[in-house]
Amino acid sequence: MIPPFNSLEFGIVVAMFAVVTVLGFLATRWKRAASLASIEEWGLGGRRFGTWVTWFLIGGDLYTAYTFVAVPALLFGTGATGFFAVPYTIAVFPIVMFAAARMWSVCHEHGYATAADFVRGRQGSALLALLVAITGIAATIPYIALQLTGIKAVIEVMGIGGDWPLWIAFIALAAYTWTSGLRAPALIAFVKDILIYIMILVAAIYIPYKLGGYDVIFHRTDTALSAKGLSTLLSGSQYLGYSTLALGSALALFLYPHAVTGVLASRDREVVKKNMSLLPAYSLMLGFIALLGYMAIAAHVKPVGGTAKAPDTTTIVPVLFNNQFPHWFAGIAFGAIVIGALVPAAIMGISAANTFARDIWRPYFRPRASDREQGLVSQIVSVILKLGAVGVIVSLKLSFAIEFQLIGGVIVIQILPAVVLGLYTRWYHRWALVAGWVVGMGLSVYMLYVTPSKTAAHFGSASFAFKTWGFDTKMTIWTGLVGLIANLIVATVLTPLLGRLPRGRDETRPADYEAVAAPPIPVGPEHAAGTAGASGD
C-alpha cells in the first residue's frame, strides 16, 4: 500500500534540501584557506575544527540516517536484541578516548591524513598500509550506499515513485562536496543535528502521549512480540551475542575511515578527548530513536514496500511519523532524515577518497604526486563513489547492500591490531600483523559465508551461531570478535618467531603520540584555529 502523495510534506523536504545545498556551496568560504586544492584542506578542513564543530561533525558522521531507520527497524523486527545500539554507543567512548587522542597527535605531527598513512609510517610496511587502506575503503562503500536507504524510505512513504530523487540528492551532494570538501558536511551537520534533535524530542514525548504512555507501548509490544516468539527482554542464550555485538561494534567504529577523518579534522587532541564525553548526547537521541520501533508496533504500523515475506521494515519510522504527526511536522522530520543521510555520505565519500589518493594512488601509481594532484584525485574518487552508490542501490536489490554493511564492522575490525596496537607499542612485527590480518579476515569471511538468513543462504548475519560448529547451544557471538581474537593470537605468536626478518623503519617517536597543537598561526584572512565566529568556541 503506497501512501497518498502529500504536497506539503514534499514542499518542506524540497525547501530544506535546497537550503542545505546552498549551505554546502557557501561552506567553501568557511574557515577560509588560501586554497582548498589539497587533501589537508579539502579532505580534512585544514585540521582546525574546534569542540563544537567536531561534536556536530563526528555526531553527524557516526549517527547516520541509516541508523535512524535501521535501529528502530531492528527493534520492530527482533525485540530487545535491537537495543544493542545503546550499549554499543556507550562502550565506544571510554574505549577510544585515549587511542583517538594518540591517533590525533601522531597524525598531526607527521601530516598523516588516514589510518593507512599512520600504519605506513609506524610499521614501515607498504603492504600492511595497503591492507589497511583496502579494508577501510571496502567497509565504507556499502555504508555510503546504505545512506540512500534512509532517503529511499522517506520518498517511498511520501508516495513518490522512481529513483530520480536519489540521483538529484547525490548529484547535488557530489557537486558541493567537490567544491567545499569536508567543510560542507561540517557546516550542514549543524542543521542536520538540530533538526534531528527537535524531531526526536517531539517524537519521544508526543507519540507516547498519543498512544497512551510508555506502559501502553511496552504492553502492546510485549503482546505483539511474544506472538512471534520474541520478547522485550533478552533470552539467556542471547546474552553473549548482545554483549559481543555491542563491544565489537564499539571497537570497530573508530576504525572506519570516516570516523578517523572526523577525529583528524579537529584542532587539538584535547578537542578529541573532550568530545568523548560530549558525544554520548547523541547516544541518548539514538536510544529514543530505537524505541520508535516499539512505538511503531504499538501504533500498528505496516511497512511500505518490500515483499510479503520480507517487508521493508526500514520504512516503519517514516510511516509512523506520517500517521502520527501533522503533515507539516512529518515534512520536517522527513527533511531531517534526508539531510541526515547527506552528511555522513559526504564524509564517508571524502574519507574513502582520501584513503585512495594517499594510500593507493600515491604509493602505487604516482609516487611524486603533488598535494594538488592528490587532492584532485580524492575529489574525483569522491564523486565516483557517491554516484556509484546510487547506481548500486537502484540497480541491485537493497538487501544486498544491507548484508554488506553488516559485514563492514566485521572486516574493518581486522585492522585494529595494525592501527590501535601500533599507537601503543612497536613490539609487533610487521609481517606478524600482516599474517594476523590474513587469518582474521579469512576466518571472519568464512564464518559470515556459512551463516544463513531467512532469505539468503550465505552472509545472512554477523551473529555466528555456535551450533554451526556442532555445539549444542543456541548462543551466538559477533563474528568480528572471533576473527579479531584469531588475528591477535597469530600476530602475537608470530612476532617472536619472525624476529630474524628485518623490521620496518618507524618514523615516529614516543613524544609524537602525546603532542598537542602548536599555538594558532595566521593562515589567510582568518586565523587558523578557533577564531571563526561560526565555530562557537
Binding site: F83, V86, T89, P94, L234, G287, L291, A515, V516
Partner: protein, 70 residues
C-alpha cells in the same frame, strides 16, 4: 611538538572510571529485568539509557583529570 610531553597526572583510579561503564552495560546479567519500571519503561531500557548519562560523567571526569596544562 616534542617539548610538550609534560607529565600528566595519571592516577590509575581515574582510569577505572573508563572501565565502569563498560562493565555496567556489557553484562546483561545486571539489567535484563522488567522491574522496577519507570513510567512504564522496563528496567532493561531505562537502565541502559541512564548509563548514557553515566558514561558522559565518567569520561568527563577522566578528561578533566588528564587534560594537558595550557
Amino acid at each position: 611538538m616534542s617539548n610538550d610531553t609534560r607529565s600528566r597526572r595519571r592516577h590509575p583510579a581515574v582510569f577505572l572510571l573508563l572501565l565502569l561503564p563498560l562493565v555496567a552495560v556489557l553484562v546483561p546479567e545486571f539489567y535484563n529485568f522488567t522491574s522496577p519500571a519507570i513510567g512504564g519503561m522496563p528496567f532493561f531500557y531505562w537502565y541502559q539509557l541512564a548509563w548514557i548519562g553515566g558514561v558522559a560523567v565518567c569520561t568527563g571526569i577522566v578528561y578533566a583529570a588528564t587534560r594537558s596544562a595550557r
